[in-house]
């Protein structure tokens, strides 16, 4: 048991180190000089002397591996460096953004899970019925909708045509609704498809036929089917969190929700590398941990050895 846990943690650490190296290398080869960008944005006349001093101050003159090592050890300590844009430490900015993003992402996840679970069960109970067909079409269309498209369409129809909502989110409950809807709709489509397929494959198993033959009530059969599919559903959810993270960048930018996604987009425009790197490392870590947890949970729920 302990050996297994250690192995998982070790894999996680190795992947994270690779991720961090990848991000750092990318920033290293990136076009544009952050020192120059900084100076021009401050209105300083760029001469070679000023530029070198600025590079020295930002630590851009040291060799690649030294810089990587220093950066890696400082992020392990929770120090994500100083923003190139305003000299403020990056970590508090990222944390603050992350909190707001978590509110948005978790609400969307909850909304999508509840809705798609109900839809998937309804669709499976009467396979090929009218409800099933409607749900299938809905899940197909919503799965094909990029979330920037949904948010623009929602904005147009709900905010401008029907004037139900303010165009710019304020951070209150009403402001949360449109971003949550935009994030949820494509996710609901994917969840329904996957859950439906999962339930159907479980229902084609012999034990379900046996229960039916013995006259067991449909509700009880469904209870068993759902319980047995839970492991796979956890995996599905965990994999979706990656899409959710990418989607929240888009949605936060559109609705000006001050989360980590909007922060990273602003930082990309300003070439504020420490923030971008911190963003990838934090999101990557969260994603990896969630997927590891889902993996453990699905093994717990289905203790049969993997084939």
């Amino acid at each position: 048991m302990i050996k297994k846990v250690l192995k998982r943690i070790l894999t996680l650490v190795v992947i994270l180190v690779i991720l961090s190296f990848f991000v750092f290398a990318l920033m290293y080869i990136a076009p544009g000089d952050p020192a120059e960008k900084r100076l021009t944005s401050q209105g300083v006349a760029v001469t070679k002397k000023v530029l070198d001093a600025e590079r020295e101050r930002l630590g851009l003159m040291k060799p690649f591996l030294v810089r990587y090592g220093e950066w890696l050890f400082s992020i392990i300590r929770g120090d994500f460096g100083i923003s190139f844009k305003d000299d403020m430490p990056v970590a508090p900015k990222l944390l603050q953004g992350l909190g707001r993003t978590a509110v948005l992402a978790l609400t969307s996840l909850a909304v999508s899970l509840i809705t798609s679970f109900l839809f998937a069960v309804a669709s499976v109970l009467k396979k090929d019925g009218i409800a099933d067909r409607i749900i299938k079409v809905f899940s197909f269309v919503s799965n094909s909708l990029p979330n920037f498209l949904i948010s623009v369409l929602l904005m147009y129809f709900l905010c401008i045509k029907l004037k139900l909502f303010p165009v710019i989110a304020k951070g209150d409950l009403k402001g949360l609704l449109l971003p949550v809807l935009s994030l949820s709709i494509p996710m609901i489509g994917r969840f329904i498809r996957q859950m439906r397929a999962e339930f159907l494959s479980e229902m084609s198993k012999d034990y379900v036929a046996g229960m039916r033959g013995r006259g067991v009530k449909t509700g009880y059969i469904m209870f068993n089917v759902i319980r047995n599919s839970l492991g796979h559903i956890f995996t599905i959810i965990a994999l979706q969190t990656g899409t959710l993270m990418g989607g929240s960048v888009v949605i936060e930018t559109i609705f000006r929700w001050p989360g980590i996604g909007k922060l990273v987009m602003d930082s990309i425009t300003a070439r504020d590398y420490p923030v971008i790197m911190g963003f990838v490392v934090i999101m990557g870590t969260i994603y990896l941990i969630i997927n590891q947890i889902a993996d453990v949970l699905s093994h717990r729920l289905d203790p049969r050895p993997e084939s």
Binding site: I15, I18, L19, V23, L26, M27, A30, P31, G32, F140, V141, N143, S144, L145, P146, N147, F148, L149, V152, L153, M155, Y156, I160, T241, G242, T243, M245, G246, G247, V249, V250, T253, I254, V264, M265, I268, T269, Y273, I276, M277, F279, V280, M283, G284, Y287, L288, N291
Partner: protein
């Protein structure tokens, strides 16, 4: 019976997809206005005879821009899928055929690629590379080849055990000959199906990056960036957003439907 129905569906969808491709390929013949020509006299004109889809903030014809924008999006998507398909299949076949240390290393790399949240990495990569369609394509391509490689690898593995491969080996054929003549044609169908299902996702990814300003460079027309630009004045000129949005939606749905239908057909 089911197979026949699916076949009809595939044919209809293929015709639609082809029509779409032709429309964007021959955009110059269909659209009479220059997509990049600005006109101060015709700013934000509502749809009319001269401008079937109206004009945008700079007086550019939205109809022409939707057609030319489709060319940008669709070409980039097909190119990216084709490159990932070629690279992934090649890597997968080599891994599956040779096994051993090459297989171990390449498949670990593939595992690591799948361990990252794809869109997060794509946004960061495209952002750091500094925009441009090339950057966006690299950003998405980094992880795209993996699904092709895995699929090709598993098929090569099972093909290797077949008698006709053993016969070819005994006949003294070289490894490259066997891979090209015996393995590639036999795994082409499933891998091509995968390519088809990837088109929709790739299009969503590319136009999403363009929407964020990390894809195509203005003034080149592209659906994602058109929607992003038009968003600012959607209250005055909704057509500048709604038409490219509709085009995106229809295209993605057609290709997703086609992918699903082909997959169902192969399973039926």
């Amino acid at each position: 019976m089911k197979k026949k129905k699916l076949k009809a569906k595939i044919i209809i969808l293929s015709v639609l997809a082809l029509l779409l491709l032709l429309m964007t390929c021959f955009a110059g013949l269909v659209a009479k206005n220059d997509p990049n020509a600005t006109s101060a006299a015709a700013i934000r004109t509502a749809p009319c005879a001269d401008y079937p889809f109206g004009t945008d903030n700079l007086g550019r014809c939205v109809f022409s821009r939707v057609l030319y924008g489709g060319r940008t999006t669709i070409t980039a998507t097909f190119f990216l899928v084709a490159v990932s398909f070629a690279a992934g299949t090649l890597i997968g076949m080599i891994c599956g055929y040779h096994g051993g240390i090459i297989d171990g290393i390449l498949m670990r790399i593939a595992d690591i690629m799948l361990a990252f949240p794809q869109m997060v990495v794509a946004i960061a990569v495209a952002g750091i590379l500094g925009g441009g369609m090339k950057g966006a394509m690299i950003a998405l391509g980094i992880t795209m080849w993996v699904s092709f490689a895995r699929l090709a690898r598993s098929h090569t593995f099972s093909l290797k055990k077949e008698a006709f491969i053993k016969a070819a080996l005994i006949a003294g054929k070289g490894d490259i000959y066997i891979i090209i003549v015996h393995i590639l044609p036999n795994l082409l169908a499933p891998v091509l199906t995968n390519a088809l299902t990837q088109i929709g996702t790739t299009m969503i990814g590319l136009s999403g990056l363009s929407f964020l300003g990390l894809g195509v460079v203005p003034p080149t027309a592209e659906w994602g960036s058109m929607i992003s630009e038009g968003r600012a004045y959607i209250q005055i000129a909704p057509w500048a957003v709604l038409y490219p949005a509709l085009a995106t939606l229809i295209t993605i749905i057609i290709f997703n439907c086609l992918g699903d239908a082909v997959m169902d057909y192969r399973e039926a």
